[in-house]
């Protein structure tokens, strides 16, 4: 099953299970079913609760917050995560604060879905990875889709938390297969943390969000076959707040740690993860936690230029080598 089908299935399940669950977004009616087809079939099956909207990202996110305020479950799709900046006020100043700023906790089941990332030549305003702008917003949970995490389980968790969530979906994942890793490795999933590994203890631990899984695996394969460097990959589903304990437990045993993400340089999620690990493992880590990310740059359109800016398998490979020096 492809990742987009797994996501589509999860959305079907959420809407089927709860007659007070809504889905809003642009161009999501059948037969089109959304720009990336994640919402295919939903408008046909749940016509009154799957609502196609005008091009009004701020308003539709606010509408989702309003539904959530009244006790409904609302899923809002922003066609490209780049446009979530238009909804930033509704997410940061309304939804995330409503769970706390009135002195008592207001449950808010609001999920903002965000197709994300580059690699498809869509250009500077349709290729960004803006996760970092949502890290550390009190009351807001940041999740990222992953080929190793069943989307229905993740949506169930997000809804159960009754806190507003942003859910980043790396666009390159949609057409990839679910639950498939290189046969050099085995993998498991514990409490929302996926771990891909070989039998021997790792030289390096790579921590990455779901969208980077395949690039990290490709780097791990090369490192293992060409240099006998053993890596373990950890993919958390929730990027923030981060459940640090299991990461710390694995990182403790390794010679180095690399955090890899597609975000451009500066103020990254990885910097936050590194800070947590440094605090927990100061004096234990043999090397500073290393960061792999895209360049400090806008993301160009032409593919040869885009490749030179974005995080690649090679960026991760080289950063792992550097971290072990």
């Amino acid at each position: 099953m492809r990742v987009v089908e797994n996501l589509n299935h999860a959305l079907h399940e959420v809407l089927a299970a709860n007659p007070r669950a809504f889905l809003l977004g642009e161009d999501l009616l059948d037969p089109y079913g959304g720009a990336f087809k994640a919402t295919r079939g939903l408008s046909t099956r749940f016509p009154s609760r799957v609502i196609t909207t005008p091009i009004s990202e701020s308003a539709i996110t606010g509408v989702g917050a309003g539904l959530a305020l009244c006790g409904d479950t609302a899923i809002v799709e922003i066609m490209f995560s780049d446009f979530v900046t238009l909804a930033f006020d509704q997410i940061v100043n309304f939804a995330a604060k409503s769970v706390s700023m009135y002195g008592t906790r207001v449950p808010m089941r609001l999920i903002v879905r965000l197709p994300t990332g580059g690699g498809r030549g869509y250009g500077p305003t349709h290729s960004q990875s803006l996760q970092k702008h949502f890290i550390g917003v009190p009351g807001l949970d940041v999740y990222e889709m992953s080929p190793l995490h069943d989307n229905h389980a993740v949506f169930t968790q997000m809804i159960a938390a009754e806190r507003p969530c942003v859910f980043f979906e790396d666009k390159v994942l949609y057409t990839k297969r679910m639950h498939e890793v290189d046969d050099l490795f085995t993998w498991d999933l514990t409490d929302g943390l996926a771990r891909v590994h070989v039998d021997t203890p790792p030289d390096c631990v790579i921590i990455a969000p779901g969208g980077v899984t395949h690039r990290a695996l490709a780097a791990m394969r090369r490192l293992l076959l060409e240099q006998e460097i053993v890596c373990t990959l950890l993919v958390p589903s929730r990027l923030h707040p981060l459940d640090a304990a299991p990461l710390v437990a694995v990182a403790r045993e390794a010679r180095s740690v690399v955090v890899a993400e597609e975000s451009t340089a500066g103020g990254t999620w990885g910097a936050e993860v590194a800070h947590v690990l440094h605090r927990e493992l100061w004096g234990v880590l043999r090397n500073p936690v290393a960061l792999a990310h895209s360049a400090d740059s806008i993301i160009p359109t032409a593919s040869h230029l885009e490749r030179a800016v974005l995080l690649t398998e090679t960026t991760i490979h080289d950063t792992v080598l550097e971290s072990l020096k």
Binding site: D27, T52, G121, A290, D296, A302, L311
Partner: protein, 290 residues
């Protein structure tokens, strides 16, 4: 001398060539063609001067080609080849050139155009922003109309109303009308068909002159989008029955010759640009990892 017909046909064949290149897998990314909407920028071209600022959107190839005689520079931009207007960095929907800027986020350019109009106020020049009907969903559009009217700015908003936004028909996205929305802000509004270049100019010449003295104007053109939203994603039926100036004008004397000329010109631009080396960008010395 380039006639209006030459320019219309250049845009038509340029856009067809892009879809063709896509189909052959020779173009990367995405592109939005203005097939069917070519008359709007061609009619406006002589009404805009070199000091005016044009703000274009995602569907901007016609806007660019009506202002600059540069199909090779635009194609190189879209294909990431040497000689690209913006080194291949911006691509189809992010172009900057003297007095011209396009961007791919709907509604974003309108406040910026208001800023340009504020800068230009009193100079006789104006800021012209192209937007689609669907873009009237964005709140920034209304904040901008309010400011332009409140401050008496030389802002010309050109609406290419093709009745659809990606796959969403206007009826599912707009309550009321564009005209009534303009009236609410005290902004002049004119609705025009987009089928006759000189008729459009006759109506707009005095109105655009008034914009230059600080009366903002919204011109709403009824157009047909004859192509897909981007590439191969059309969910509509009956597109081939929509009115097309290309079909309507095909009996005009000289059409067949002009059509062949434009097709040949675009054909040679495509061959020439495809043969160019990849574009280079000053920002290429990139720093990654840490």
């Amino acid at each position: 001398m380039t006639t209006d017909l030459d320019r219309l046909l250049l845009i038509r064949h340029f856009e067809r060539a892009l879809l063709d290149l896509f189909a052959k897998g020779e173009l990367n990314g995405t592109t939005h063609t203005c097939l069917g909407q070519e008359i709007v920028p061609v009619a406006l071209a002589p009404l805009l001067g070199p000091d005016d600022h044009v703000f274009s959107n995602h569907r901007g190839h016609g806007h660019y080609l009506a202002r600059f005689d540069d199909p090779a520079g635009l194609l190189a931009e879209i294909m990431g080849r040497e000689g690209a207007v913006c080194d291949g960095v911006g691509g189809s929907q992010h172009i900057l050139r003297e007095g011209y800027l396009s961007t791919g986020v709907q509604g974003e350019s309108l406040p910026v155009a208001v800023g340009a109009a504020l800068h230009l106020r009193g100079s006789g020049a104006l800021a012209c922003a192209y937007i689609g009907d669907g873009t009237w969903g964005e709140g920034a559009v209304y904040e901008s109309l309010n400011l332009a009217a409140l401050w008496g700015l030389p802002l010309l908003v050109v609406v290419e109303h093709n009745g659809i936004a990606q796959t969403t028909p206007t009826e599912l996205a707009m309550s009321g009308t564009i005209g009534a929305r303009c009236a609410a802000f005290g902004v002049a509004h004119t609705a025009l068909p987009a089928d006759d270049v000189s008729a459009i100019r006759t109506v707009l010449t005095p109105l655009v002159a008034a914009v230059r003295t600080g009366s903002p104007l919204v011109v709403e053109f009824a157009v047909n989008r004859l192509g897909p939203h981007s590439k191969g994603d059309d969910t509509r039926s009956g597109v081939s029955e929509l009115r097309d100036w290309y079909r309507d004008m095909s009996d005009v004397t000289g059409f067949a010759e002009a059509d062949a000329r434009a097709r040949d010109l675009v054909g040679s631009v495509v061959r020439e640009v495809k043969a160019r080396p990849l574009s280079t960008w000053g920002r290429q010395a990139v720093r990654r990892g840490a």
